[in-house]
Symmetry: C2
């Protein structure tokens, strides 16, 4: 199933308790694409500036990512984000954001992308997410969106309208509580399903994720990687592997969603093992399969 | 395998954001015994005061708990604890403690308990935990202990000696970090295994547990119960079902430990569904088995 992602492309500066790194290739669409392309070809839509290193586009293309939707804004600068992680890596603080080419960016789908059957709307302004759906030629088989506290607080009405247009939502635990107004995650998940999407995945970082679908509430743990070097991009990698796995599935049922969430957990575990995309970008399909099999084995109780 | 638990018996006052309850039967040995007795007969050792309601002892006996080690201290009062939970139920604050008969309590094993093959040392002064092991006639097949921040900070040397005498340790996440001096749980778990016990289970409340055993690090989620009325006793119920499951196992290998941790997660999920022991005390072996099968089904990825 053709898989489209619309999201950000960034150069990140990252400060962790042990190390600092600058000008790392990042952004939701990049992490998503690297993880998703382990399972299915990916169509990427996003904007960069003239400072964007063309070797990064070639690297994505080599991974099976169609970069026809990569818009280079003339005279523009690529989005830049600087963040700092706490001692236990569980909290992060944004030190600076330069929106640059993302300021007022309106994604335009290339004609060849308009028949995409699976669509992922990475975190971004909700009106922009709507505009992507409006550009599709036909209703896709699967539309999943991400969002964040900023849009939950400032674009509530548009977000509620979006929830009725999508099949799945992926958010983290604090966003699920904020969106639902609940204190407990299980209650929050059910409340959000009632707002529209048939499936909800709540990411809990090192604690895994919970899949909500119909009456079913299925918790899955994180893969226990011993080394957490840089959590940046873990959530987007999770979403990428999840969507790639679903796009490659014969049928999108509960079993496929469970497999997809598990693949998401595995991809996220690779991402955090290095700064930026270094580890995820080097993972082979075979290596991902081995860790997935190990993960499923952990959970097989006899 | 005969299963011995030495721990506290309490009357608890519990304040949650939605409700308050007083004089609830509680204590580590009580929650442990109710959960463990779903799987194996239990031998209980603990002290109560003259105020202890005999119907509570009869209730335990009816569940297959041998109360020969229940010491009624003449002129004494039963241990009392009052605690308050935060809005999201994840934090708790002790409002008052009356040690009463636990002040200086030295457990004495009845002669018939000294051949116990599986032993659980619930949270308590480390020297008391040592004294229980000293009273056993022969080395048991399985000794597992719990502990807490107080003893990690004040009885460090005795605790390190205990870690070399036991097969397994069960602690929560913050205790594992404190005991190991690490910032991450995976690293913490490995550090603790190097201190002695062959197996470590780190409980993470609503986020499940991690089993450490040799080189293996196996995360298992919590059972996603929608209703959390009162988390008191969840950890002790977890330990009880885990030890009961191990005591009933043919062989204590990795598969048995995984099953045991899963049974722990299921028992804890019953406990939190009501105040005190009301829900756990009413669970039948059949009901526990059904929820366990459901839990294992959640984790089967195909």
């Amino acid at each position: 199933m053709s898989l489209l992602v619309v999201g950000s492309i960034a150069y990140d500066n990252i400060v962790t308790p042990r190390e600092t790194a600058s000008d790392l290739l990042g952004g939701s669409a990049v992490y998503f694409s690297l993880a998703a392309s382990l399972f299915a070809p990916v169509r990427l839509v996003g904007a960069v500036g003239e400072d964007f290193d063309r070797s990064h586009a070639r690297m994505l293309a080599a991974r099976g990512v169609d970069t026809a939707g990569l818009e280079v804004v003339s005279g523009g600068k690529t989005f830049r984000w600087t963040g700092e992680y706490s001692e236990d890596m569980n909290q992060r603080r944004t030190l600076s954001v330069e929106l640059n080419v993302l300021e007022g960016f309106q994604p335009r789908l290339p004609a060849g992308f308009r028949d995409s059957r699976a669509v992922f709307l990475a975190n971004g302004p909700v009106v922009t997410q709507h505009s992507v759906l409006d550009q599709l030629a036909a209703a896709p088989d699967l539309v999943v969106a991400d969002t964040m506290d900023l849009w939950i607080e400032t674009e509530r009405a548009e977000l509620e309208r979006l929830l009725r247009r999508i099949d799945g939502l992926v958010v983290n635990d604090s966003e699920a509580l904020l969106l639902s107004g609940c204190h407990g995650l299980i209650e929050a998940g059910r409340r959000i399903l009632a707002m529209g999407p048939g499936t909800l995945v709540v990411k809990k970082g090192e604690h895994g994720a919970i899949l909500f679908r119909g009456d079913r509430v299925i918790p899955l743990p994180a893969y226990p990687t011993p080394v957490v070097v840089d959590p940046t991009g873990a959530g987007d990698s999770f979403a990428g592997a999840m969507m790639g796995s679903l796009a490659a599935a014969e049928r999108i049922d509960e079993a496929a969603w469970k497999r997809a969430v598990a693949q998401g957990a595995v991809a996220a575990s690779f991402t955090v093992e290095s700064f930026g995309t270094a580890r995820l970008g080097g993972v082979s399909a075979e290596e991902a399969r081995r860790r997935f099999d190990e993960y499923c084995g952990f959970l097989r109780i006899e």
